[in-house]
């Protein structure tokens, strides 16, 4: 039996993550925010983001064949101290960005699965699972993705089948009519939902090398992105100008299916499936951040547990503090500090290609 430290994430597991798990986080609040910022041209910023992220994923996966962790690559290029500082900054970014899916999921659970706002305690078990997962190596996600991938496919396909008949696809016409400013606004203000590439940085050295991994990986990411784009079109086709008011996207579109009056809300089966996948999507940036610190400072005996408990405790406190501030927090992330995100999600993966293959020997 192989120990967890020697185990690697297979290409299949990675593709499941890129094609099936990453789209789920973009189906909740993002469509409504895109409609708010870009109007009927909401599709264009979504396409731009997906293409940019696919390019960033390509850059990161090109580094995978070097078979070294991100910290090792950094250390080879900039030395140990600087590498540790860079890793700490990236980890801090991932903890910071994890608040977006976290608060999103909390609101989603409270707003979709409960008839009246439940107490915060209903969401508390999430942190127990998160603390458990984050204490484990990031590699443990491989098998989880094997399960989440098919589950996400069932959820997304089910929701789309039930929703597509209700959509008026002409709603996005004429494409480009909202103007360049709306496109820029829509792209800029929704950066905080696209942070998939920097997470992959901490999987470097843990992925089984495969020929053409980089282009295949970005192709699978594009495939997932295509699902997101199609969902956004369906979403806007159903709600049109009122789409800005429809947060919790994927739980809303399928309920107008004509058979629902006879069958009841069968769409909840698919919504449950996606909500389940979202649990792991939400914990991923937290775990990736912890993984980065462990790469930089070594996997000492109790360090993973302590880090996991500490980070999750801070997140519990932030979730409680921002319990009624969801709108303000989202506003802060998307409109106030939007310029931070491309630095980490696009520039960093591109710059990572410049890292040296071998340690620079000083004479």
């Amino acid at each position: 039996m192989t120990s967890i430290s020697s185990r690697k994430i297979t290409a299949r597991q990675l593709y499941f993550y890129l094609a099936c798990v990453t789209p789920v986080g973009k189906l909740v609040i993002l469509p409504a925010r895109l409609a708010n910022y870009a109007g009927s041209d909401l599709l264009l910023p979504a396409i731009a983001h997906i293409l940019l992220q696919a390019a960033a994923v390509f850059c990161v996966l090109l580094l995978a064949k070097r078979n070294k962790s991100f910290f090792e690559l950094l250390e080879n290029s900039v030395g140990k101290i600087a590498a540790r500082i860079v890793i700490l900054i990236i980890s801090a970014f991932l903890f910071f960005v994890s608040l977006v899916p976290l608060l999103e999921q909390k609101s989603f659970v409270q707003g979709t699965f409960y008839d009246t706002i439940p107490s915060l305690v209903a969401f508390a078990p999430f942190f127990l699972l998160s603390a458990y997962l984050c204490a484990k190596p990031l590699i443990s996600y491989g098998r989880t993705w094997d399960i989440l991938g098919p589950l996400a496919i069932v959820g997304i396909v089910g929701i789309l089948i039930l929703s597509v008949t209700q959509a008026d696809f002409g709603a996005i016409l004429p494409i480009g009519s909202e103007g360049i400013m709306k496109f820029l606004q829509g792209t800029g203000y929704t950066f905080c939902w696209f942070f998939d590439a920097p997470i992959l940085l901490f999987l470097l050295g843990k992925i089984e090398p495969e020929k053409g991994l980089a282009w295949k990986g970005s192709l699978f990411y594009l495939l997932g992105g295509l699902c997101v784009i199609f969902f956004i079109v369906v979403f806007y086709g159903i709600f049109e100008q009122t789409a800005v008011n429809q947060i919790f996207g994927f739980s809303k579109t399928s309920k107008y299916f004509s058979g629902m009056t006879v069958l009841g809300r069968v769409d909840f089966l698919f919504i449950y499936a996606l909500a389940f996948v979202m649990i792991f999507y939400t914990t991923l940036p937290i775990q990736a951040g912890i993984e980065g610190i462990l790469q930089a400072f070594g996997r000492k005996k109790y360090l993973p547990t302590l880090l996991s408990l500490g980070v999750n405790l801070v997140l519990i406190i932030l979730t409680a503090v921002f319990d009624y501030e969801f709108g303000n927090v989202m506003h802060f992330y998307s409109e106030k500090i939007f310029f931070i995100f491309p630095v980490f999600t696009l520039l960093l993966p591109a710059l990572a290609l410049l890292l040296r293959r071998k340690r620079h020997e000083t004479s």
Binding site: Y114, T116, A122, F126, Q241, T242, Y272
Partner: protein, 398 residues
């Protein structure tokens, strides 16, 4: 050895327990428990305009009967007034001690007066409420919504249940009613066309036979000691359709115009309409219906109403030989008459919406979708300056 194996599997067990725990907390919905002592399950809401603002009437479900043989749902109406609909909801809470729960609300009724003012200000609360079912039906009623909801239905224990039955899929396929939901009304209002519709409701006294009336009042007199004062039972009609422009009710479509509207939507299946055969009334059944309203923008804005209907003779108002009854053939003259009838309905519908300045067929929106440039030039001429063309085809079953 066993202990070692047990310790080794602890993480997996812990993982599964935590996963179970999280699924339980996320998806249990507190087991969907509703404390009926503390919660008002609102079945329908009626909105009237007042000088101060709004009057909200909520129809709240209460359990009926003290044994299994007397099941069903009864209801009470609770009213409140306030500057906003939200104030009214708070007032209802204060009056009854019940927390108003709109998740089961299936009908929002607007009074005629309220509908003539800014409807969206009345629906604002419901559009914002995350726990409101936006598939709930909307309707305008004659008179006050408060009084309308409080009427006694002849067909159901609760008036709102009887009204919602009029909006069923089967009723919609008959072509006699054009139901609309909160979501679709809002989509229409916030679109470039700023137009929408909802059924216009009327209540009629149910004519009962004298013997039934006597029996009923005698029974009530015996039970409640109010013999002779029984409230008249009502039946509801929704064959007319209120049309809205910029959020205000602009006009009411007649039942014939409503049928034409429904046919143009392609909704009708087994619905009926009347025409003439040699000056005698006959009824035709619509077997198949295809309808479309297309905007042409090549030179000037034109709208083409296209209707393709397959019919069967349903009934004659006169005696007929058995050969006529057994035959599926419909005489060409009847088809021609049917075409004229439907043409007349569609013309009438077009005239009504033009006079009401209501873009019921979303022509402005379609113009924008086809060309934003032309939209900017022509938008102010819709729908008045649009040239209509009509293409109606009536065929019979072969």
């Amino acid at each position: 050895m066993k202990l070692h194996k047990f310790i080794k599997t602890i993480p997996l067990k812990l993982y599964l327990i935590l996963l179970g725990f999280i699924l339980f907390s996320f998806f249990s919905n507190d087991f969907g428990l509703v404390d009926v002592q503390k919660t008002a399950v609102i079945l329908a809401a009626g909105i009237d305009k007042t000088e101060e603002g709004f009057a909200l009437t909520t129809q709240i479900a209460v359990p009926k009967g003290d044994d299994r043989t007397q099941g069903g749902t009864s209801s009470v109406e609770v009213n409140a007034e306030g500057a906003t609909v939200s104030d009214c909801v708070t007032e209802i809470f204060a009056k009854t001690g019940w927390v108003p729960k709109f998740v089961f609300c299936n009908l929002i009724l607007l009074s005629e007066e309220a509908a003539k003012e800014d409807t969206i200000s009345e629906l604002n609360y419901f559009l914002r409420n995350e726990y409101m079912n936006d598939s709930c039906f909307l309707a305008v009623c004659e008179g006050k919504a408060e009084e309308f909801l409080a009427t006694k239905s002849a067909t159901d224990d609760t008036s709102s249940f009887a009204i919602v039955k009029l909006f069923s899929d089967a009723a919609e396929k008959s072509g006699k009613v054009m139901p609309n939901t909160l979501k679709d009304f809002a989509v229409g209002y916030y679109s470039l066309s700023e137009s929408s519709y909802m059924p216009f409701l009327r209540a009629e006294d149910q004519k009962t036979s004298p013997s039934k009336e006597e029996g009923s009042s005698g029974q009530e007199g015996g039970q409640g000691g109010q013999g002779g004062q029984s409230e008249s039972e009502k039946i509801y009609r929704a064959e007319e359709t209120a049309i809205f422009s910029k959020g205000k009710m602009a006009d009411v479509l007649t039942p014939e115009e409503t049928l034409a509207f429904s046919l143009l939507h392609g909704n009708v299946e087994t619905g009926t309409f009347g025409t003439k055969d040699e000056e005698k009334a006959i009824t035709l059944t619509v077997l198949k219906n295809k309808g479309s309203v297309k905007l042409e923008t090549k030179t000037s804005p034109k709208v083409n109403f296209k209707l393709d209907v397959m019919v069967r003779l349903c009934c004659r108002g006169t005696t007929a030989p058995i050969e006529d009854i057994s035959s599926d053939d419909v005489k060409p003259q009847i088809l021609e008459n049917a075409k004229e009838t439907l043409d007349e309905y569609i013309h009438s519908l077009w005239n009504t919406i033009v006079n009401a300045d209501c873009d019921l067929f979303n022509l402005k929106r379609d113009l924008y979708r086809s060309s934003a440039k032309k939209y900017r030039v022509w938008k102010d001429y819709f729908p008045t300056a649009v040239i209509p063309t009509f293409e109606t085809k009536v065929t019979s079953q072969k």
